[in-house]
């Protein structure tokens, strides 16, 4: 049945793209096309655009993204544990407590180091 489940997911992706593209096809049939050069300039509050947007850009939250990667992996580890910890009992709870406390300490470390500050 697992294969059927993912067949549905795949079909949903394909049908979703087709259904979303359908109105675009209708627009292609219905909409007028009037060409003049100003129409295709980039919008910048009405003035002539200054340079490109594809310049070097300082993504200031990159430290957050690094911390995010660690915690996202951690959350994935939590899911299997969340399902089976009832059956395993106390042992599962203690081991996961150790794991979570280490992560909490990591978060506190990042916090104290100023990684969670908007600079």
């Amino acid at each position: 049945m697992l294969l059927v489940d993912w067949l549905y997911v795949g079909v949903f992706v394909v049908v979703g793209i087709i259904m979303a593209a359908l109105p675009l096809a209708i627009v292609w049939l219905l909409a007028p096309r009037v060409d003049y050069p100003q129409k295709y300039t980039t919008y910048e509050s009405g003035v002539v655009p200054f340079g490109q947007a594809w310049a070097q850009f300082n993504v200031r939250y990159y430290l957050f993204s690094l911390v995010f990667v660690i915690f996202a992996v951690e959350v994935i580890y939590l899911y299997p544990w969340a399902i089976v910890f009832r059956q395993i009992g106390k042992y599962a709870f203690y081991s996961m407590t150790v794991f979570l406390v280490i992560l909490l300490l990591g978060l506190i470390y990042a916090w104290r180091k100023g990684a969670l500050e908007w600079v």
């Binding site: 489940d5 079909v11 979303a20 007028p32 300039t41 939250y61 996202a72 709870f93 916090w111």
Partner: protein
Amino acid sequence: MVSWPLEILKAIGLAAVIFTFLAVVAAMFGVLLERKIGGWIQSRLGPKHVGPQGLFQTLADTLKLLQKEHIQPRAADRAIFNAAPLIVAVAGLMSWVVIPFGTLGERVLVVRDLNIGIVFFAGMASMTVIGILAGGWSSNNKYSLLGGLRSASQMVSYELPLGMALVAVAMEAGTLSTVGIVRAQDGWFGSFVFRQFPAFVIFLIAATAEVNRVPFDLPEAESELVAGYFSEYTGMRFALFQLGEYGEMFAMAAMTATLFFGGWKGPILPPLVWFLLKMYVVVFFLMWVRWTYPRYRLDQLLNLSWKVLLPAGLVWILITGYRITF
């Protein structure tokens, strides 16, 4: 034995039905509902002239958008610019695969009861950001780029509390399947909103942020970024962004109803009606918040997630684990 052609036909039919449902109920009448509620909260009338009480306003808007020219800025990256609205619209559809609508006799009305239901949901919910980032970057417009990057920062921050809340619910229910989670909630006080109240609060806040709604609507921020990531999109492509956004919002509301309010369960009324009722209560709540609160600043938004919700989520998982184990 499964008959593959039949399953494929069923899948295509269901996908088409749900997509249409999203386009009509979520996008068209969701926007109308939003404007009506906004009008009501701000003591004005809202749309009133098209059809009885303005009922056909968004229908007319859609017809108008269908006749609008596609404008693609010369500086934009063609392929990615075109793909972005499709990604957002499909992402809005995908979450609905795992949401149970109700029961019909013994059968549960759900597209597929995936065994990893809520993990799948979390994954699909964060897929929107790929479309938003693609649209924002490929427009080659400074406002759009900023909008896209803000959206990414929001995803990076609120994905985690959302995941934590889902883990807490999974612990309580002992399963990841959405149908199983609804089954695990018995009676009025069995709803997880009582036993998992902190998880509910975290989930609701994170969900609001994930679907980029006020007070976390920085990627759009009309007043500073002039619509942000979709500034350069015209006509139907703009509408696809809206469709994806509202589809995602209704999916989040439906998921809140499923995880915390017992999904389709309820007395007297049919299950489907209960499910829709609960979903619309959450939708109304999200709209109420939108018309009431101002927007967060980016640093405040990151602070709320990393310094409040994330530690709270971790601690709540420990508390839940302790309570269930001992």
